[in-house]
Each structure stands twice: as C-alpha cells, then as structure tokens.
Amino acid sequence: MTQARPMVAAPSTTAPSVALSGAALRFGDRTLWDDLDLAIAPGEFLAVLGPNGAGKTSLLQVLLGLRKLSAGAVEVGGRPPRRGSSVVGYVPQQKAFDRDLPLRGRDLVRLGLDGHRWGLARRNRETRDRVARVIDDVGATAYADAPLGLLSGGEQQRLRIAQALLGDPTVLLCDEPLLSLDLHHQRAVSELIDTRRRAANISVVFVTHEINPILSMVDRVLYLVGGRWAVGPPDEIMTSERLSDLYNTDIDVLRVRGRIVVVGTPDAAHGEPGGDHHHPVDTGPVPGPPRAPAGSTGGRTG
C-alpha cells in the first residue's frame, strides 16, 4: 500500500455492504446487464462507468429497492434492499432546483431525515443541531439559509450530499453528482465525498461519465456496456484491450499527464477531447500513485 487507506478490500473478514450475485436486469427482451457478481466492501469507492443507457442509474435503483432484479440476488447492508432504508444515502443525478422554490438548503437537508413521515415536523433542538452539524461538515453553513434555487450547482450538490449523509448511511449511492459542475466544483464535491467515506468508512457507488475527477479515489471500476460488464481496479479496466473487448470495437486508452483519455467509444463518453464534456484535458487533479489492486476482478464478455 502506498497510501493510507482505511481499507481496500478485505472481503474475507468483513461482510460486504453491497452484494450482487448472478444479477440481471432486463426490459422486455433487452438486457441491460446480466450475470453480474459484485461485492462492495465497507469503505470501498466503486466508480460505475459506461455509455448512456447502459443501466447505471437502473443499478442504483435496484440498490435503492425501487426496481426488482430480473434474475439473481442483491443485498445491501446484509438485507434485500428496501425503499427508505436508513443504510443507504442517495445523491441523485444533478438537476438544478427551480429558482423560485420556496425552500432553503437547510430544509432540503432536514427532509432527508424525516420528510417521509406523515404529519407536521415538530421543532426539536436535537434534530436541528444534527442538521446544522452535517451542513457544517460539508462546508455549506454560509449559504444554508439562502433560497435553494439561487445557489450554484456546486452549492446545491453539497447540500444534497449533506442530505444523503444525515442518516449516517453505510452505503452512499451517487448518480452523476458532478454533471454540469465546473472543474473546480467537480473537484470539491468529489473530495468531499471521499473525505466523508474515509471518516465514516462508507461504501461509495459513484456513477459517472467522467473518471478523471475521481481517479485518485477510486478503488474499483464497474464498467457497463451494452449488456456486458467488467469490474476491477482502474489500472486493470481502463486499458485499450479491456475496453475494446467490452465495446467490441477498437478503443484506445491513453494516459496523458496522469489522466485517462478514452478515444473511439461510440458515444465519446470519456474525456475525449471535443467530446460532450466540459473539462480541458490538461487540467484537473493528478491521480495518486497506483495502488494495490483490490483483488477481485471479474468480468464477462459476450
């Protein structure tokens, strides 16, 4: 180990916080993914990559208990997933709030705690302090009382993370939380998530179009493409061979100044210059040194 990590993988001693076995998801005769075996260890940071429509969001919906598997089994925190579970925190796909929304950031965070209960919220000092503490943890105190719709995308995203962390989850599910953020906020938001997962040993499942902003944090990558998948450390998956195999076409994976540039994917999804993303290739975080692989790599093609 070259970095102080809380853990990388110790599957034999700790129960996984997320376990999928033989898992498949189909719509009609279309298979998003199948035969998926994956165990996510406590504190592990898993990036989920893949083109649009590969089934990344659907995977999170399965883990949230909003969608049933077509086949196979899934457990989150040792039990089948169920809606509203306190084990799971959820940061949805970044969507700006309406400017006129009559809500403050503080109210949004609070809803994460008891918004699903019937009746009116009671004033309660303990709850208020808890909300204030988590807002402080994400560095959002300065604007927590401003109208939510007037905050920047990055500020809104921090409050969403605070909302997700409020219930002390052991699994944090993030759906493209960096989308439409500028580089500076991409970095701040991903470091925030990383810090919190290390502090509380939270497993993070991080769906993203763009691995570079989180490359230094990622333990393993789950790469989904048109019904196929591969899982393993970034160094193992983000290679020309593996991706060419997955996409069934020639893909070049280049390392440019510590960043990964994928050239040739049909939807140009990964940091390809001139692709649909908003980050120049020559800036951004420099990833840490390579780490010991997580051991478990699997994958299936065909």
Binding site: A4, P6, L64, L66, R83, G84, S85, V88, Y90, P92, Q93, K95, F97, D98, D100, L101, P102, L103, R104, D107, L108, L111, G112, D114, G115, H116, R117, W118, G119, L120, A121, D136, D137, V138, G139, T141, A142, Y143, A144, D145, A146, P147, L148, G149, L150, S152, G154, E155, R158, R160, Q163, H184, A188, E191, L192, T195, R196, R198, A199
Partner: protein, 291 residues
C-alpha cells in the same frame, strides 16, 4: 345601512365563516400548487366543478353538493391519468374539454333559475343555506386534517421527487391525495369567488408569499394570511359597496402580490447568505478525517 348591521345578519356571517375556512385551506395548499406547477390542475378542476354543479342542480337542486362530488371524481381521474406534470397537463386538458361539454348539456336541460348557473361561474357566497354551510365547513375541516397529515411527504415529493421516492415516500399516492384535497379546496373556493376566479385564492397568495421568504413554514403562514385578508376583506368590502365579492377578492389578492414582488425583489438575492464578500471556498471545510 352600516356594516355593523350587515355583520349581524346570518347571511353575512355564513359568508364570512365560509370565506375564512376557504382562505385557510387555499392558502395552505397554494405553496404546493406553486411548487408542483399545478396551476392548470387548479384551473381545470375549478372549471369542471361547473359540470358537477350543473349535474347537482339537475338531479337534486343542489349545486354545491354536486360540485364537491364532481371535483373528487375529476381530481382522482387527473391523478390516475397523469403522473408527470406534462402528462398531467394534457390529461387535464382532455378531461376539461369533455367535462365542460357535458356541463353545457346538463345546464341546457336545467329549467330552474338561470342565475344559479352564473353564480357557479362568478361566485355567490351570500346565498348559502345552513345545510350548505355545514357541508362546506365539514369538507374544509377534512381538507385541513388531510393536509396536515400529508404535509411532510407532500413537501418532500414536491421539491425533490427522486430522493423522496428513494427515502420511501409513495410519491404517486401522495400526488393523487394532493389532487383530491386540491379539488375539494378549489370547489369550496369556487363558491366564494366563482370557478373563473379561483386562482386568486389558490395561487396568488402563495405566489406572493414565495417572493418574501424561502422558509416553507413561513411561506405557508404568509400564504394563509394573505388569503384571509383577501377573502374576508373582499367580503366585508362587498357588504359596504355592493360590488361583487369575487371582484374585490381578486383585486385585493393581486394588490398583495404586486406589493410582495416589489418588497421581495429588493431583498431576495442576498437573503440567507451569511457572508457577503467571501467567495466560494476552493475546498470544503472538511473535518480532519478520523482514520
């Protein structure tokens, strides 16, 4: 004759009681109407209460009961047909067009007082009977209780539907329940301001409140207060001036909105920010990791 004389008459007291209740429930639901973009649902259910009222008149000679029953049917239908807002809007359009046609037919079969029909469109609260007043009170109290129960999940589902769903809120169920209480509220409001001016109680006060605060509790309180001022103020003024109450209510309501916009515009952008000059910090104030 003076206002004091009128205020001692049962017809005026009935109107004020009904106006007060309607203002409370409209003001309470208004912020959700704004947040959920449900203005068209309000308008649609209000106009369709015309159909229910016409049916009520024809069958039993009671427009209010017919309108209330009709609104529940309509609210439920809209809720079941449309899930997302866009779907909902076209569902409302479809039901509205058909329902109004039925209403026109029913009214053409009705041979009672023609003013009963115009009262539906423009409101006539000064004519409610004791029995109708009891009905209005009963429905308003039920709406009040239902809204209090729904409040938190409805707020969650309205502002943040994806996370609400994941946290276990039955957003679909909550949405249908909301449309049902909304339809009842709108129908009650239509008794006072008429189906054509319902928005002046169901939206305008909430929109005004939203200009002044972003705290959900405060927005709701202001919205109820504004609706009360408009409804009771309009009724009292109407007693004194002989101008139709619905005209005065919508005018007062609009006046409040204009003032709120002016006041709100001056303060809104900086509201709630602790520091004025501090630029966004490059990194979050992360606590030292306990690793």
């Amino acid at each position: 004759m003076g206002l004091w004389f009128y205020l001692q008459q049962p017809f005026a007291q009935h109107a004020l009681i009904a106006g007060t209740l309607v203002a409370i429930i409209s003001g309470l639901l208004g912020p959700f109407v704004v947040t959920r973009g449900a203005a068209f649902a309000v308008h649609g259910t209000a106009e369709l209460s015309f159909t229910g009222a016409a049916a009520g008149l024809l069958i039993d000679g009671d427009a209010i009961l017919g309108a209330l029953i009709g609104s529940v049917v309509v609210g439920g239908a809209i809720g079941l047909l449309g899930v997302r807002q866009r779907e909902r809007d076209s569902a409302i359009g479809v039901i509205l067009a058909f329902g109004l046609g039925v209403g026109v037919y029913l009214l053409s079969r009705y041979h009672g007082f023609a003013t009963q029909a115009t009262n539906i469109l423009f409101g006539q609260i000064f004519g409610v009977s004791d029995g109708q007043l009891e009905l209005l009170i009963g429905v308003a109290v039920s709406v009040l209780i239902a809204t209090a129960l729904l409040y938190r999940p409805l707020l969650f589902a309205s502002v943040d539907p994806d996370v609400a769903e994941a946290r276990g809120v039955r957003t679909r169920l909550v949405g249908v329940a909301f449309l049902l209480v909304l339809a009842l509220t709108v129908t009650e409001a239509a008794q006072i301001v008429g189906t054509l001016l319902v928005l002046s109680l169901a939206i305008t006060p909430a929109a005004a409140a939203g200009r002044l605060s972003a705290r959900p509790g405060r927005v709701t309180a202001l919205s109820v207060a504004f609706a009360l001022v408009a409804a009771d103020g309009g009724l009292v003024l109407s007693l004194q001036t002989n101008v139709k109450a619905s005209v005065l209510i919508s005018t007062i309501s609009f006046g409040i909105y204009v003032v709120a916009r002016l006041v709100g515009a001056a303060t809104r952008d900086r509201r709630g920010r602790r520091t004025t000059a501090a630029p966004a910090r490059p990194y979050p104030a992360t606590p030292t990791a306990r690793v």
